[in-house]
Amino acid sequence: MDTDAALAGRLAKDLGAGFPDLVDQHRDRLYTIALRLLGDRRDAEEVAQDALVRAFRAMQGYGPERIVALRLRPWLASITVNLSRNRRRRADDRQPPSHLEPMLDAGFDVAIDGRSGPEHRAGRHETQRELAAALLRLTPSVRAAIVLRHVDGLSVAETAQALGRPEGTIKAQVHRGLRELRAVLEAEAAQPASRRIKTHAGRLLPALEAIR
């Protein structure tokens, strides 16, 4: 990306002066990656902040030529994915969430962001929320491939670089991820109407409102 190359050039010249721009340009996507991998807002905040700090410290140890050559988008994504993985491993002592309701009960935040204009109706929120929850049910390696490729929007090559896997593997994992997400969402939709009304109207919507 053009802006990234220009930014890398400025970072190579004066790391401290250029870094606030890196933060401005990348903080939302690093937070999004961490949030979609972990499902928890506070964990995502800490991971994104830690990723930025580590990126700076790493670049402090690099020479200018190495900083110029950095492909910032996949590089920063890989730091975030690694920190998210470490955090999840620590959290794995807890029972991993296996269904939407227990996940919400356990305080997992699978919600969408705070946009609430008239065009963002409950139906759309619902879709986003269910999709976010479905993501968390994928295996971690498939989830990481889907999040980088389709949430963050990296190319297959960049995703492969960020995750340190061959492009062929990424393609297969993304394909598998989309298939599994579709299956989860279709199963959700196929639930009896009575159950959906009870869970969504009676419990999940208030939870959603509380988050917004």
Partner: protein, 266 residues
């Protein structure tokens, strides 16, 4: 009832829609950790409310301002970094600052003094050694840091102290014993801080005006700066004054090992 996305295109659009904005703290928190931006909060001091700025490296700035916005503007202009408000200092820093202001010189206080000369930092570190409620002349600081002739530069460095009160530049006075300038509001503010530390500034200035620059004890034959805790322990009956260290030496007095008085050019 929601519509279920089934096509890959719909699914991919839904995934793109999962992008969110990071809370403001995320990026700014990283910059603060790295010392590329600062946070600040108000604290109570002998001079009333003051603002303290800090980052991951330590306390970076202490100053007074009519309000928070004025403090931020001044910080940005003088330090050149971004700054944002916080509710309070982090516990560790709050503890260190309050212990320091209370006169405890043993507690370590992290300071961010990047961008200042080694000479300035040496002057400020020396000021940190002066006990609460005592004062030393500019010339003493100059001599202690090995630059006995740099008295004027010591005064300039103290005037540029970015962390007044925390680094007690108010405890350094003019070599003729007058109270001297103070960046946090002039000589009157300096008298008020020293007064709050238990120093009788009126007596100090009266003695200086009368040429009583050094204080000795006729039982120990030791001569001190007048505010040295050893000098203040001497009873009136045994207290003697000298206009110069030379006069004290001629009378057979040796310099105190605590306050290490030096002959002053000014």
């Amino acid at each position: 009832m929601m519509t279920v996305p089934i096509t890959d295109a719909a699914l991919e659009a839904g995934l793109r829609d999962l992008r969110v904005r990071a809370p403001a703290t995320v990026g700014f928190g990283a910059l603060v950790d790295l010392g590329l931006a600062d946070r600040y909060a108000a604290i109570d001091t002998a001079l009333g409310r003051a603002f303290v700025a800090w980052n991951g490296r330590g306390i970076s700035w202490v100053g007074q301002a009519p309000d928070a916005a004025a403090f931020e503007a001044r910080f940005r202009a003088e330090v050149g970094r971004d700054i944002g408000p916080a509710d309070a200092l982090p516990e560790r820093l709050a503890h260190a600052v309050s212990r320091r202001l209370a006169g405890d010189r043993r507690v370590r206080i992290p300071l961010d003094l990047r961008g200042h000369t080694p000479f300035e930092v040496a002057v400020w570190m020396k000021a940190l050694e002066i006990p609460r409620g005592e004062v030393r002349p500019y010339g003493w600081v100059a001599a202690e840091i090995g630059k006995p002739r740099a008295v004027r530069a010591v005064g300039t460095a103290l005037a540029h102290n970015p962390v007044p009160l925390v680094v007690p530049c108010h405890r350094v006075v003019r070599s003729d014993g007058t109270i001297g300038q103070y960046s946090m509001g002039g000589p009157d503010a300096k008298r008020r801080v020293l007064g709050a530390e238990g120093l009788d500034t009126r007596a100090l200035e009266a003695n200086a005006a009368a040429g009583r620059r050094y204080t000795g004890s006729d039982t120990t034959h030791i001569v001190c700066h007048p505010t040295c805790r050893d000098a203040r322990r001497v009873t009136d009956r045994h207290r003697v004054h000298f206009p110069s260290l030379d006069a004290a030496a001629q009378a057979g007095y040796r310099p105190c090992k605590h306050c290490r008085p030096v002959a002053l050019a000014a």
